[in-house]
């Protein structure tokens, strides 16, 4: 719960104002750090700079409010929800608010990252304080005009009200407000007073989307721009030996073909010519014979677990003793493959590198890192680089890595032309950054109807779990525990994939705990509640919040009641600081599972925008169902074996369950939304399959080699 005391931070440190030349007031603020005392807020909107300030609020003389939203939009709705938070505390009518995507051109725009479900979590307090500070100044301006104390005044929907009933619009107060000092103390609203937060607001771009307006990186176009496509080594780790581009260059529309690093770039007048020419290049690559594929990597993972070449991440009690003194030891091993992100908008970026400056534009979740990487790669100063953000056609973690931004800049630098680098779907899927392949081996020590020891050994390609994952449940709920992890190295590029680590750790852990419950002859939900009730010592999760979502989903899904032919599976997982419990309902059809319904209860703190939040959590679940059922990606000699949607299966509408999601009411600060509902669902499906068939599937995806799998 907010208290006034917590908010008496010196606002002067991060907020300044100016009177706009065109009339109206501009508040510049920095959500992250103190401002340089010399920093000045520009007096025209055209001159907005993001060197000192990372976001702005403009209030025009007609009272209309424009928010320059600081975060890139990847579909998780922050372009709507973050302004909602400011507008709430500023106390304006949402209808009077316009949101403009701020562009990036600075080294100081640090939190301009859309990843890890963090935007709202990190921005919550600063955004509220910013709105409240602006409101306070308008209030003070009105007090001066009326010559009364500001304490007697109130605000509502863009007006300041006098006790005697007279009112002044914010627009009428902007000039006076711009001359005031920034107050050092502001009071935030009590959550009960919220009138925008907690109300369903439409995505601010929905009308543009239904009209097909140019919004995305791929839509971005500049006069005179050329198109670039890149041919890469087919296998990760392969080198370019030579190439012949004679035929490619003959194609009409092709401007140039050249090598950069181990790749070949084609520059053309249009995308189609660039794509077509690429196919005509004859390239010779170094041998891939000794490069590992899925099979080799799997056996290497097996070996490091066998040989215990692992580092312990978390220990409690003595698992060895527990295993030796138990009545029964359960053992199981779980696998998941690499996964590409497959953002609907293939990777692409605009770059114009000239001796004076570098212009970049497109869809990226980490604009600042990309600017840094381009500067480093080309030996340029960041102050020469300007990056314009567009709407992002899906991120899922892929656009946290700006490899394609650097490539676009390198190509433009060599070609000495403004270019747009465009990936084909094949480039996107085979030249990606992947969720690592992972293997887990579990042991559970059972004694006298209880779990007394829990051991988890992980082997992963290039990147595994971190300490914070190891500290999650069931840590705290089992007296003896050991979590250890080791890596296998590969040239295959690994990165973040929606709900990193949790996405598969949850599957393995939640399935294994179901195995434990079954072995103890306990109802999985009853058993989980029992475990949570007995959490001891300091843990980084709240057992009571977890219990609450489990109780909720148990009720919503009518757990325990049975309908002929349908089977249920349960799973609950804490990630990105949110608590999620899910129950999946399946039917078996022609020997295969059909996911009919998913019930879900979420505690993610205050829900800023329920309309957007519901879209996020339902999307996360269906995405999770899709990848659990079909997501499979293999390599042979370092080369992906599928490259487009004909072989790589994504979930489609006729395969989707109906999802019923409820948010547990909470006054806690908002936490992650875009990711936490995905991890639990695969475990819930596996548990439902076990309930239906008696078979435990420990390898994703479920429907691949179904017979082998069961």
């Amino acid at each position: 719960m907010e208290t006034t005391k917590k908010n008496s931070v010196d606002r002067r440190l991060f907020m300044k104002t100016s009177l706009l030349a065109s009339g109206g007031i501009l508040f510049g603020f920095n959500l992250l750090e103190a401002l340089n005392p010399k920093a000045l807020v520009p007096t025209t909107v055209e001159d907005l700079n993001f060197h000192e300030f990372n976001a702005y609020i403009k209030i025009a003389e007609n009272g209309k409010v424009t928010l320059f939203s600081p975060n890139p939009e990847i579909g998780q709705g922050v372009k709507t929800s973050m302004p909602m938070i400011v507008a709430e505390e500023l106390d304006v009518a949402w209808e009077d608010v316009t949101v403009v995507q701020a562009k990036l051109d600075t080294e100081n725009f640090k939190r301009q990252v859309a990843g890890g479900s963090q935007s709202i979590r990190k921005g919550w307090k600063p955004l509220r304080q910013t709105g409240a500070t602006a409101r306070q100044m308008l209030l003070e301006a009105a007090a001066l005009k009326w010559k009364v104390s500001s304490v007697s005044l109130s605000t509502k929907e863009g007006f300041v009200f006098h006790e005697n009933g007279s009112k002044l619009g914010y627009g009428e107060l902007v000039e006076a407000a711009s001359k005031l000092e920034i107050p050092s103390n502001v009071t935030l609203k009590n959550p009960e007073e919220f009138s925008i937060i907690g109300q369903g607001k439409r995505n601010v771009d929905v009308y543009k989307i239904t009209k097909g307006e140019s919004l995305f990186g791929l839509d971005y176009k500049v006069e005179g721009m050329l198109y670039a496509a890149v041919l890469r080594p087919p296998a990760f780790g392969q080198k370019l030996k030579s190439f012949d581009a004679t035929q490619a260059k003959k194609l009409s529309g092709v401007v140039n073909v050249f090598q950069f690093e181990d790749n070949i770039a084609v520059i053309a007048n249009n995308t189609w010519a660039a794509f077509s020419a690429k196919k005509l290049i004859v390239a010779e690559w170094s041998s891939d014979a000794s490069i590992d594929g899925t099979l080799e990597l799997n056996s290497k993972m097996e070996t490091i677990i066998e040989n215990d070449k692992l580092k312990s991440l978390k220990k409690k009690g003595d698992v060895k003793v527990a295993l030796n003194s138990s009545d029964k030891v359960l053992e199981a091993s779980y696998d998941s493959s690499f996964l590409p992100h497959n953002c609907m908008e293939p990777m692409n970026f605009y770059a114009n590198v000239t001796p004076e400056k570098i212009e970049l534009a497109g869809s990226i979740q980490t604009p600042q890192n990309s600017v840094n990487s381009v500067a480093k790669k080309l030996g340029r100063d960041i102050s020469e680089i300007d990056l314009k953000l567009t709407r992002i056609g899906g991120g899922f973690g892929r656009r946290l890595t700006g490899d394609f931004v650097v490539d676009a800049a390198v190509i433009s630098d060599i070609a000495k032309k403004p270019i747009k680098l465009v990936y084909t779907r094949e480039d996107d899927m085979t030249g990606g950054i992947y969720k690592p392949a992972v293997k887990y081996k579990f042991k559970a020590a059972l004694k006298k109807n209880d779990l007394i020891g829990y051991e988890l050994k992980e082997a992963a390609v290039n990147r595994g779990m971190g300490r914070h994952h190891a500290q999650n449940f069931p840590f705290g709920a089992v007296p003896n525990l050991n979590i250890a992890s080791g890596l296998v190295q590969s040239e295959i590029t690994i990165g973040w994939w929606r709900a990193p680590v949790s996405n598969f750790l949850a599957f393995a852990e939640q399935s294994f705990l179901d195995e434990v419950a079954i072995s103890l002859k306990k109802d999985p939900i009853e058993y989980r509640l029992e475990m949570l009730a007995n959490v001891k010592g300091k843990v980084n999760y709240s057992a009571s919040r977890m219990i609450a979502v489990i109780e909720k989903v148990r009720k919503d899904s009518k757990w325990g009641s049975s309908v002929e032919g349908t089977f249920k599976g349960f799973s609950a997982y804490y990630s990105h600081q949110s608590y999620v419990a899910e129950v999946v309902e399946i039917e078996m059809k022609d020997g295969l599972p059909v996911i009919k319904k998913v019930y879900c209860a979420v505690d993610c703190g205050v829900v800023v925008n329920p309309m957007g939040a519901d879209n996020q959590v339902v999307g996360g679940i269906i995405d999770g169902v899709g990848h659990a059922m079909y997501g499979d990606f293999e390599f042979e000699n370092g080369k992906p074996t599928s490259s487009n949607y004909d072989k790589y299966r994504l979930i489609r509408m006729n395969e989707t369950p109906q999802v019923f999601c409820t948010f547990v009411k909470s006054d806690e600060d908002p936490t992650g939304l875009g990711e936490p509902t995905l991890p639990p669902v695969s475990g819930a499906i596996g548990n439902a399959i076990a309930a239906a068939t008696g078979k435990r599937i420990r390898k994703l995806p479920f429907v691949k080699n179904w017979e082998l799998n069961v």
Binding site: V206, N615, N654
Partner: protein, 156 residues
């Protein structure tokens, strides 16, 4: 390079392109109609869906030479005021997440409710299965198609 005269959204356009160029890239690169999206290029995702003489068609596989003399409608020309029943339903239910697939979804849905005035949910799920939404906004898309079909019925 060859010259083509195309009829798109009721307007006539003249372009000079290689005859194998798919309509998708003519729309996007030559005519600046970027609402139609590129997703896979092999007819698997539906992001590039347009109406070809009224039927939902993948523009990524449709050579420009094949559309001469036909009526093409893209998302930009679906309605004058962004108020086709499908567009309205999409707005009403706040369907998009990232939004990238939505033009294709809307074009498939609008052709579908033209053919099937009173679809069941199963029919909707079948009709829409060619359009991938990587954000998995499927539940809302399904509801929006049902809503649009109802709206269209009550208008006619």
């Amino acid at each position: 390079m060859k010259k083509f005269q195309l009829k798109i959204n009721g307007k006539t356009y003249k372009v000079k392109v290689d005859e194998t160029t798919p309509l998708l890239w003519v729309l996007r690169d030559e005519l600046g109609l970027v609402g139609t999206k590129f997703g896979c290029g092999i007819g698997q995702c539906g992001a590039c869906t347009v109406h070809f003489n009224g039927s939902a068609t993948r523009s990524c596989l449709l050579p420009v030479s094949a559309v001469v003399g036909s009526e093409i409608t893209t998302i930009e020309g679906l309605s004058e005021n962004n108020d086709h029943p499908v567009q309205k339903a999409w707005q009403e239910l706040d369907v998009p997440q990232c939004g990238y697939c939505q033009a294709g979804q809307i074009m498939t849905a609008s052709a579908f409710i033209e053919e099937n005035q009173n679809p069941s949910r199963e029919e909707v799920r079948d009709a829409m299965h060619g359009n991938i939404c990587r954000c998995a906004a499927y539940n809302r898309i399904e509801n929006a198609v049902v809503l649009a079909a109802k709206e269209k019925q009550s208008n006619s």
